[in-house]
Amino acid sequence: MIQFQNVTKTYAGGKVKAVDNLDLTIEEGKVFGFIGPNGAGKTTTIKLLTGILSPDNGRVLLNGIDMARDPIAAKRSFGYVPDAFDMYERLTGMDYLNFMADIYGVDAASRKRHIDKYLALFELEDAAGQQIRGYSRGMKQKLAITGALIHEPSIWVLDEPMVGLDPQSVFMLKEEMRRHADSGRTVFFSTHVLDVAERLCDEIGIIKRGRLIARGTLDELRHGGDSSLEEVFLELVEKKGE
C-alpha cells in the first residue's frame, strides 16, 4: 500500500510548489496511473515516493513504513523504473542485473529464475552479455524493468515506462503490470499515454501544478457519462487549477 499524507514539495525557497498537499492512498492489488500535463509534478511525486527527494511537509508511507523514518526498509519494498536509464554503460546487462539482485539480497535460485524469465519475456537473452552502451533506448528500458522486478517487490513504481518501447514490448509490459496487481501487489506509474491509462488502470490520479485535481476509477472520473479519458482529462486540466 502507498500512502501520501499531506505531502508538499517546494522549490525556489517555497515560491514554486512542485507537489502541493498531496493526500493519496493506493491499496494493494491496484494499478494506479498518474497523469498530468508536462511539469505538473508527476516525476517529483515519484521521486518523493521513492525517497529520492524528501518532502518539505507530510509523510510518505510504503506498506506502512515511513520513508523518512526507515528509508532502507521502505526502499526494499518497491522496485523502481526511472524515466531514462542512462548509467553504467560499460557494464553488461547481466552485470547490472546481478548488481540489483545483490542490492536486494536475492538468493541465487530466485535470481536465476527471475533473470531467465524476464530476459526471455523481453527478448534480451542475446544482449544480456553485451555492454549496456550498445543497447537501444527500448533495450535499456527493458533492462531497467527486469532489474526493478528482480526482488519481486510488493510495490512497482514506473516513471513513463512506455517511452522507447516497441508495440510488442508495450503489450508485454502492460500484461506484466496487470499480473503484478492481480497477485495482490501495487503498481504506480506515470504516463502521458491516455489510452494505456484508460485500459490498464484500476484508478487514475490527475495532477496539475502539483495539486491532485481528480482521482478515482475511470467511471468515477466520467461521473457516469460515456466520455473518454482524454476528454475527461482535457476538461479537468483546462477547468481546474487555473
Binding site: 521513492t50 532502507i72 526498509a73
Partner: protein, 557 residues
C-alpha cells in the same frame, strides 16, 4: 554497500579494456590499435618516470641518503592525489549520473559514500604503487632489508592516498554546500577548475623560480657538513610523511610504532570524513541534482525577449553559449585565457625580484628593442590562441545534433562563419587577457603590445580557419560524453601542434629574412602579409567547398 562498490569498480575496470572506447561502427582492429597505442604511450611515460626515479635515487645514494628519494616519492604521491583526485572525487560524489537512481536503492547514505571513496582510493593506491614500489624494492634489496620492511612499506603505500582523499572529500562537500547557494553547479565546476589550474601553474612556476642555484648549493653544503638532512627537508612540511618514511626505512619497534601512528592517522582521517559527511551525503547529492530543476523553474519567469538580428547572430550566440555553459567545454577551450596570464604574472614577479628596484619595463626597454619585443609578444599571444580548442572541435561537438543543423534554413557558409567567429572571439579574449597582463607589467611598451595583439589576431584567423576546416572534413560526431568530443579529439591535438609549427615556421622565415639583411620590422611585415594571404585563401575554401561538405555530411554515416 559491497555490491555497489563492486559495481563501481567493475565499471571503472571495464573502461580499461581494449574495446571500451570502440566507437559505433569502428572496426575492431582500429580500436585495438588505438588501445595498443595508448598502452605503449603509457609504458614509455612510465618507463621515463622510473628512469628518472632511479637517477634521483643514485644521486641521493651518492649523498648517503637514499631514503630521501623514498620520502620524495611519498610526498609527490600525496600532492598528486591532493590535486588530481579533487576532480574525480567531486564528479563521482556529486555529478554522477546514477545519483538519483542510487537514491531509490536500499543502501544507507554512509554506505554509498564509503563505496565511492573506496573506488577513488583504489585508483589512487594503484598510482601510488606504480610510483613507489620500484623504489622501495630497490631500496630493500640494496639495504638487505627483511620481510618486515616490505610489510611496513606495503602498508604505507596502501595508506598514502588516505589523508589527501579525506581532505579533497571535505573540500568537495564544502564546495557543494556553497554551490547550493549559487545554484549554478556548472559555473562552480568551471571556476574551481580555473582556480586550480591557475594555482598549480602559479605554484610550479613560483617553486622553479625560487629554487635558485644558490639555495640548492647551500642545501648540498649543509648535507655535506652534516648540518641538515635531505630527508628532513623533504618531509618536514608534513609530519605524517615523516612517520611514513621512518616506518618504511627504519627498523625495530620504533619503525612499527611509526607505521602504526601513520596508519592510525590515515584511517582516522577517512573515518572522520565518513562520520561527519556520510549521513547527509545522499541528501546533499540529491539536492545538488535538484538545483537544475530549480534553476529551470526560475528561468521560466526570467525568460527575456532577446532576439538575434539574423540567423547568423543567433547561431553565433548559440555557439558561444554552449562553450561557456558546458564545464567540459569551458575548461578545455578557455585554458589559454587562464594559464598564460598566470605564467606572465609569476614570471614577471620573478624577473622583477631579480631586477632589485629597477622597473621591469626599464629592464626590458634596455635589453630588448621595440620591434623584437613586438615580435616576441605577437608570438606569445599567437601561442595563447592555439590553446583554445573551441573552434577545433566546433563541428565534432555537434554530435547527434548535426542532422538538426542540416535542416536549418541557413547556408553552410553562415553556419561555419558563426563557428569561425566564435573561435575568433575566444581567441581574442584569451589574447586580450594576456595582453592586459603585458600592459600592466610593461606599461612603457603599450604600443608594441597593441601591435602584437593585432598581429596575433591575424594569426588567430588563420589558425581558426585551419582548425575548422580540419573539423569539417574529419569530424568526430559519434560521441557519448562531452569529454570525448573535446578532450579526446585528434583534430584538437593536430590543430594545437599545427598552430605551434606554423608559429615556428613564421619565426624561422623572419629569422631567415633578418639574416639576409632585412630590418626586423620588415621581416615581421612579410610574415603578416603571408598570414593575410593564407587567411584569404583558406576563407575561400571554407566559404565554398567546405560549406558544401559540411551541409552534405550525415551523422549516421
Amino acid at each position: 554497500m559491497l555490491a555497489y562498490w563492486k559495481l563501481l569498480m567493475r565499471d571503472r575496470l571495464m573502461a580499461l579494456r581494449p574495446g571500451a572506447r570502440r566507437r559505433e561502427g569502428q572496426a575492431a582492429w582500429k580500436a585495438l590499435l588505438g588501445w595498443a597505442g595508448m598502452a605503449l604511450l603509457f609504458v614509455i611515460l612510465y618507463g621515463m618516470a622510473i628512469v628518472f626515479e632511479m637517477l634521483m635515487y643514485d644521486q641521493a645514494r651518492a649523498m648517503g641518503e637514499p631514503q630521501a628519494v623514498i620520502a620524495l616519492a611519498f610526498l609527490a604521491c600525496t600532492l598528486m592525489t591532493l590535486i588530481y583526485s579533487f576532480f574525480y572525487v567531486i564528479s563521482l560524489l556529486f555529478f554522477g549520473r546514477d545519483c538519483a537512481f542510487v537514491g531509490a536503492l536500499p543502501i544507507p547514505s554512509r554506505g554509498v559514500l564509503v563505496a565511492k571513496l573506496a573506488t577513488v582510493l583504489a585508483g589512487e593506491i594503484g598510482l601510488t604503487m606504480l610510483v613507489c614500489l620500484p623504489l622501495l624494492v630497490r631500496y630493500g634489496v640494496e639495504m638487505g632489508m627483511g620481510a618486515a620492511f616490505y610489510v611496513r612499506s606495503l602498508l604505507g603505500v596502501l595508506l598514502v592516498p588516505g589523508i589527501p582523499v579525506a581532505i579533497t572529500t571535505l573540500l568537495a562537500f564544502g564546495l557543494i554546500r556553497i554551490s547550493a547557494l549559487w545554484k549554478r553547479r556548472e559555473g562552480v565546476t568551471t571556476v574551481m577548475t580555473f582556480v586550480l589550474v591557475a594555482a598549480i601553474v602559479g605554484a610550479e612556476m613560483s617553486i622553479n623560480m625560487n629554487m635558485d642555484e644558490g639555495e640548492l648549493a647551500q642545501a648540498a653544503a649543509g648535507l655535506l657538513l652534516g648540518s641538515g638532512s635531505l630527508t628532513d627537508m623533504v618531509v618536514g612540511a608534513f609530519p605524517p610523511l615523516q612517520w611514513l618514511t621512518a616506518a618504511a626505512t627504519g627498523s625495530g619497534f620504533q619503525a612499527w610504532g611509526q607505521a602504526a601512528l601513520y596508519a592510525g592517522v590515515s584511517i582516522a582521517a577517512l573515518a572522520l570524513v565518513v562520520a561527519l559527511c556520510g549521513g547527509g551525503y545522499m541528501r546533499l547529492a540529491l539536492r545538488q541534482a535538484e538545483i537544475i530543476q530549480r534553476v529551470n523553474r526560475g528561468a521560466r519567469r526570467r525568460a527575456s525577449g532577446w532576439r538575434a538580428r539574423s540567423p547568423f547572430w543567433a547561431l553565433y550566440r548559440q555557439e558561444v553559449r554552449e562553450v561557456l555553459t558546458v564545464p567540459t567545454y569551458a575548461t578545455n577551450c578557455l585554458t589559454g585565457a587562464v594559464m598564460f596570464p598566470v605564467l606572465l604574472v609569476v614570471a614577471a614577479i620573478g624577473i622583477g625580484r631579480e631586477a632589485e628596484g629597477m622597473a621591469l619595463s626599464q629592464v626590458v626597454a634596455q635589453l630588448v628593442p621595440g620591434s623584437v619585443y613586438l615580435a616576441c609578444a605577437a608570438g606569445f599571444l599567437a601561442l595563447t590562441c592555439t590553446m583554445g580548442l573551441a573552434v577545433a572541435t566546433a563541428v565534432s561537438r555537434e554530435g547527434a545534433r548535426h542532422d538538426m543543423r542540416r535542416i536549418y534554413p541557413v547556408t553552410g557558409k553562415a553556419q561555419l562563419g558563426a563557428k569561425l567567429l566564435m573561435g575568433m572571439t575566444f581567441n581574442l579574449a584569451s589574447a586580450l587577457v594576456s595582453a592586459v597582463a603585458l600592459w600592466v607589467l610593461l606599461p612603457g611598451m603599450w604600443l608594441e603590445t597593441l601591435g602584437a595583439l593585432a598581429v596575433s589576431q591575424v594569426f588567430s584567423l588563420l589558425w581558426c580557419l585551419m582548425s575548422l576546416l580540419l573539423d569539417v572534413y574529419h569530424p568526430k560526431l559519434k560521441w557519448k560524453t562531452e569529454t570525448e568530443a573535446v578532450k579526446q579529439s585528434m583534430n584538437a591535438m593536430v590543430s594545437m601542434f599545427g598552430g605551434m609549427i606554423i608559429i615556428a615556421a613564421l619565426v624561422g622565415a623572419a629569422a631567415l629574412l633578418i639574416l639576409w639583411g632585412w630590418p626586423i620590422s620588415a621581416a615581421l611585415g612579410a610574415d603578416v602579409l603571408l598570414l593575410v594571404l593564407l587567411d584569404a585563401a583558406l576563407w575561400m575554401v571554407l566559404s565554398r567547398k567546405a560549406s558544401v561538405t559540411y551541409c552534405l555530411r550525415e551523422y549516421s554515416k
